[in-house]
Symmetry: C4
Subunit: 228 residues, 4 copies
């Protein structure tokens, strides 16, 4: 495939970013062995960069990240792409504002998923980041578009950047790969804290108007202008 | 702003101290991503040094700490200060003996907070450090003085150096930033241990006279003379 | 003992591999102190390489790994072999397709074992890796073949690569030592996630036909061709 | 104080050992801040080496370990000794076979302690290391011999090397400081695993005759001859 110099520079930069972001997944213990991955859309192109399948986090390099089109076909890379590539490619095809996708089986979020239960909004940081409860998507087998479709349908019906796929794990989205990783980190933290709260009683839901006000402020005001 | 050489030396020293203390928050896993912060009062000045907003712990330097007045207005620093600056400034204005403030969403303490439940005093180390139960403060939205007011009213009515702000997280105070960080570390440890104790039965409250005797000894005798 | 040059090269290589794999046990906190071990069969020989007994993980070297025959008799090594050598040797004698064995007391898996309860299959990654529930083996005292026999009988009656030995801990098998370590890591992750799910309700079992389809795909398609 | 050259060499060696062993307490997350300590008896002398009070684990050096007599009086050292020195000195005075003592508030063991509940023997590794249940000692205030007396009375009536002091934390003993640290690590692991087992049902007690047989074997056979 022949790509312009500019696009190649962008892809190289995304290879470095996607590779480096996997270290956040291990730092926050969201993944074990090879079971979780990050991808990024190449802006304005029908392309994505994603983790190779079955390769240990210690062995990831910018060079072994895989470049695919948005149907999961490999364009550059000696390795097979993550087995979640089809699901993530589907998300990029259907949700043009999404620039990054993350998949984990992080413990507490996956525990909610295995009961098929959404996480109620009982923490200000959950209102800030997710704008309400974190929803559950359908059970789906790997192999066709059903995982991708489940993700897109669930997230389209919600303000949340995270979905708990039933009996499976978590998918998060963001405007770029870093935002999607942040959502994965926050999702597990919220899942854990609300789980622990519920072990000894009932966490108190935040009033919907307060949820709205927290979500609006956080999405529009928080952080440095260049670091949202 | 023109400050004397002495004050500038103090501020430089506090920039280093406040920056370095954030490493204790990550070491003890009290924070994720950018969600937690430390501040210090500049002694005898209406000034404070605090973490910049939305900056990763890996990227903190003494130089990017932000110097504010006690109404949260930035005096030195290219970054916006923590979104918790107004709350912490309010604490410094109202509680002159406080030299440091810490905010976290540490998991177990926040779980108690999300149920709106104080932590009963069932451990000698809790009596030592907090002098009794760790109290709950009100639910409050960010944006005006309500968080600060909730912290000050709750801590004024208690011997505790930590308050669980309802559905939100933890604020701790100390004579300096290091003491406030210690209180944040101890608060999570107590919150976790008492939670786990209660999962299988009822932790036994320590008798109030024993709590008093433990608190008095610890506050007056423990540790090296220069390292309390 | 006189071994050919080729076999000696294989043994040296296995000493390095077995030694290095112990770092995965500590990385994922599956073991404490000296309580857990990895072994590998020497292909096509009635020999195995195993951790020395009572030696700290920090002090392991390829050289202090112990070479035994498949009755646990030491052929090379100044240290006594792991006290689990007899059990693992029994597994190699009875299950010729097994190239690696791992033993841990990882927390959540051992908690299921102490209740004598199998882990129901409620997660797609459990279906992928274990093909169904993770079964319980009998209580057995150390000192004769009863532990080994319990492992073999339980694993022979199951697709699982992991067995929870009652009131004791976990044994896992694989085509090589790395696969057995992976199974030990996945077993604890599954044990933890399903435990946490069940704390607040009932995890939903995956339908047997879906378990079969997930297991078949994962065992035959997943990962790089040379990295399964 | 004038000590012979031999004794000075022994003391120097114990300063290094006691200092280094604190790294095992932090590695296994048995302690936070400065809240836990290791001591060693100087063999054949009425002396002990112990952690200084209120000093961070990062700042420990062989030189700042404190040398005391067995009534807690400082013989060498610029720092005050641990506030637990009196309790540990009492143990050395009353139990001549004890060469090391460790104190922690490790989370799960302290949770059992806060309910005043012994840990039932439901794991082979607990039978191996502790020879049965881990017992509870009385609630005792710091300041006289009551903590030390509670430890000694409880451990004298048991085979266990660990005691859960009610509403307080854990003390462990050993033939030397390393053995006492090992007991502290194993105690928390057992406390955690049995706690988690009991969250979802009842862990099955091991039969007393099996406990005896496991304890005898482990105390007499396990490990390298020079590494028990």
């Amino acid at each position: 495939m022949s790509l312009s110099t500019d696009v190649n520079a962008t892809i190289t930069s995304l290879r470095h970013e996607v590779c480096a972001l996997h270290a956040e997944l291990t730092r926050y213990q969201l993944v074990i062995w090879t079971a979780g991955n990050v991808s990024a859309r190449v802006p304005d192109r029908d392309l994505m960069v994603i983790k190779p399948s079955g390769v240990s986090y210690d062995d990831l390099t910018p060079e072994n990240m895989v470049l695919c089109d948005l149907h999961g076909r490999v364009l550059e890379g000696e390795h097979a792409p993550s087995s979640d590539t089809d699901a993530q490619a589907y998300v990029y095809r259907q949700m043009p504002h999404v620039g990054g996708v993350v998949h984990t089986h992080s413990t507490y979020a996956t525990a909610w998923a295995s009961r098929g239960e959404a996480i109620p909004c009982a923490l200000t940081m959950q209102a800030d980041e997710f704008g309400g409860e974190i929803p559950v998507g359908p059970f789906a087998l790997i192999g066709d578009d059903s995982i991708g479709r489940g993700i897109v349908e669930t997230l389209t019906a919600s303000r949340s950047a995270a979905v708990l796929m039933k009996q499976h794990g978590v998918f998060t989205i963001g405007k770029d790969a870093r935002s999607a990783v942040k959502a994965a980190v926050m999702c597990e933290d919220v899942a854990r804290t609300v789980h622990i709260a519920r072990q000894l009683g009932e966490p108190i839901r935040i009033e919907p108007t307060d949820v709205d006000s927290l979500f609006d402020r956080y999405q529009n005001v928080y952080g440095q202008k260049d670091n949202r």
